[in-house]
Amino acid sequence: MKSERALVAHLMRRAGFGATPSELDKLTMEKTYEEIVEDLVTPERFPALDQSFIDRYYGGEQVAVHVGKWLYRMANTQRPLEEKMSLFLHHVFPVAWGKGEHNPSIYNEIDMFRRIGLTDIRTILLELSHDPAMIFWLDNNENHKDEINENYGRELLELFSLGVGNYTEDDIKAASRAFTGWTFRQPLSLYPSGNYPTEFEFLADDHDYGEKIFLGETGTFDGGDIIDIIARQPATARFISRHLYNFFVEDEAQVPSWNTEPPRNAAAIEKMASVFTETGGQMRPVLREMFNSDFFKQAADFKKVKSPTELVVGVVRQTGEFNSPTPGIYQFALTTLDDSEVESTMAVMGQKLLNPPTVEGWHTGREWIDSGTLSERIRFVESQFEDVSKPGVREMVERVGSLHDDPAHLVSRCLDLLGGVRVSRHTYDSLVEYARGLASMKSGESAGVHNLLQMTASTVDYQFE
């Protein structure tokens, strides 16, 4: 073994969507932990998914179809961090389809997140400011030189880069003036032939070329200049680092309270922020530093609640049901916003991908969990592991062994096969007792190893990453 199995399992859950037993075998046999981190932050080393192969099988207009394609990508990519970063950026820069209901814009935005997620903060904010979905979401198409709309300028500073307390109302006005004329080309109507894409458009005659004072600097700034200044701010380095820490390491307080609630691990944020500053806001070095740090390695036990997306994709990877295009993955993501008569499992769990509730995005961590969402999570997991004909379930059942093996060993193998799940002592003892009960069932009663897998995956402990 070149690397520790439990630690690699932890890394793959956080930097990706979990590893299957076979993947863990291979990774730990062939690579050190640091080599695996390097592979994760260098996704170009691995082939990209063939989008035409996905599109060949999955077609349709509903947003759920496109979310389904994204889930398929998350479950099957050989570049897990690339996909995880697109999800991260969707959390940090949350745009909802429901405002404009213009499908191509929101899908192109996610593609853009995938493309730029591992670049640098200047590229990320510049692409974001050119993105028609974001422009419409925060009304920058209504931001004119003779009548500014401050919505995008405000959120760019408050939620997307600096955080509350690091700018003034005058800075918002200056930023907004700098983004006047940043709009998009009118797309064609939905009828009669469906949606057509749009693209960024700069209207020079609607741009305010006047002098502006922004964060103490003076000039005839445009949006790009504003982003340059933002990217240099220590506050941006800390804010983005805290976002990364919250998403990958440990649940933080909700974003709106960050100006009053100190970070859970201020030293970790400072270390990440210093790398961010030293590298000009490059994401790869910050992520490399984070994944290789002790604070990340020590954050394995109950530090982070899985988001509904992470739960669903993690389970799908383990069951293997969607290892190749198979009908039905879109059903995890149906919502009533999208003409469905029922809310799907992800909606009931509280996460409608491509439809975040507000510009703040989803409240994460323990706020994912209430009695209703927890019930749905457990129902979902239990149902997904029920069918032993699914290739991943079949493999796990074969590897767990016989119900008549030592119950403690059975439970340990289940935990390992489910991706190196950590459980409390109480949960472990309960599972051992359950395994013993399964083994002692009378002939004629239906019981199998998959029941133990179901029970293990149905524990509250499994809800943590």
């Binding site: 599109d55 509903q62 009118q186 797309p187 939905l190 009669p192 059903q331």
Partner: protein
């Protein structure tokens, strides 16, 4: 009917467009009936059926729409339908790559029979896609994930097959559409290899045309293939949003990129939608005429070319305009090019 000695290619004008959003959903293939209707096979996640629509176009309201089939795995239902063909008696056959079966419907769209089971042995399928009748009335089926071609009676009796996975000439990679011409030759859209190939009835390779690209005779995921009674070959070039046309020797002739105009139903719909009309005026309306991701191409005995315009919820139709030439009107093939152009 024998192939002509030559053709005076007068043109290939655009004829008309059928359908619009909400009337036709994601058309993936098209067939026709003897009484002048198009049978438009529609497929998206969670929805699958056949829309019946007059080829001469119609102005049908949603309450009057005709069709058959529904989404599901039951008899007469479909999950991932791929191609639709009709026989001389008007029976309709539809392949389904999710349920691994071919279903036969009567001319009224009622379920008649089905065959097929998942597997990789003779007589089994893994994702049947293209279907076509051979001159004997048997079914030629593309078994896409097994990368092979199989032949069956219409009742599902296995008659033989050929093909293997790979990129060498004659091999296949996730093939999609198929057409068998009147001579029995089998034309296959070789999706993964970005080419089309033609095989003799016995499976001997005759021609292979194409590679990845967007130039002439290059493809980005070819989906469907059709051959007309003159021997001309049409290939829907999905990723390049076009249909390419070749002569019977595989020589590139031209491309169809789309010329859509509003169907009758679309025209009437737009008359009552002021905002949509304004947005079309503000937008780049030229985009609206082009094909988007065609998944098939078909040509009928009247030389009408049908292109299911998958992402634009419609079918575009062209009309071939040629004059058949005899030996006195069409010179013998030249071995060399010449600058002595007359």
């Amino acid at each position: 009917m024998s192939r002509p000695h030559g053709l005076l290619r007068a043109g290939y004008p655009y004829l008309r467009t059928l359908g619009m959003r909400r009337v036709i959903g994601y058309p993936t293939d098209v067939g026709w009936t003897d009484d002048g209707n198009a049978l438009i096979l529609m497929r998206s996640e969670g929805a699958a059926s056949v829309r019946i629509w007059p080829i001469e176009d119609a102005d049908l309201f949603t309450d009057d729409l005709k069709g058959f089939g529904s989404y599901g795995a039951g008899d007469g239902q479909m999950v991932w339908p791929v191609q639709l063909i009709t026989d001389g008696e008007g029976h309709i056959y539809i392949s389904d790559e999710a349920t691994h079966r071919i279903t036969r419907f009567d001319p009224d769209g009622q379920f008649v029979s089905k065959f097929g089971a998942r597997g990789d042995s003779d007589g089994e399928f893994d994702g049947p896609t293209g279907i076509s009748f051979d001159p004997d009335g048997n079914l030629v089926v593309v078994d896409s994930k097994n990368h092979r071609i199989q032949r069956y009676t219409v009742d599902g009796e296995y008659l033989g097959g050929f093909g293997s996975h790979g990129s060498e000439p004659g091999q296949l990679d996730l093939p999609w559409g198929v057409h068998v011409d009147e001579l029995g030759d089998i034309y296959v859209a070789d999706w993964g290899n970005n080419r089309f190939q033609a095989f003799s009835p016995e499976g001997e390779l005759k021609i292979a045309v194409g590679k990845l690209g967007d130039g002439e005779a290059e493809f980005d995921r070819p989906t469907g293939v059709a051959v007309d009674a003159h021997g001309d070959i049409y290939v829907s070039d999905w990723g390049n949003n076009r249909v390419q046309m070749f002569n019977s020797e595989g020589h590139y002739l031209w491309s169809f990129r789309g010329d859509a105009s509003l169907s009758r139903v679309a025209r009437n719909y737009m008359l009552t939608n002021a905002m949509s009309n304004r947005l079309r005026e503000m937008g780049r309306i030229e985009q609206e005429k082009y094909l988007r991701r065609p998944r098939s191409v078909r040509i009928d005995s009247d030389f009408r070319l049908f292109i299911p315009d998958y992402e634009s919820y419609r079918v575009q139709i062209y009309q071939k305009d040629v004059v058949v030439l005899d030996r006195t009107q069409f010179a013998a093939p030249l071995r060399n090019p010449t600058l002595e152009v007359t």
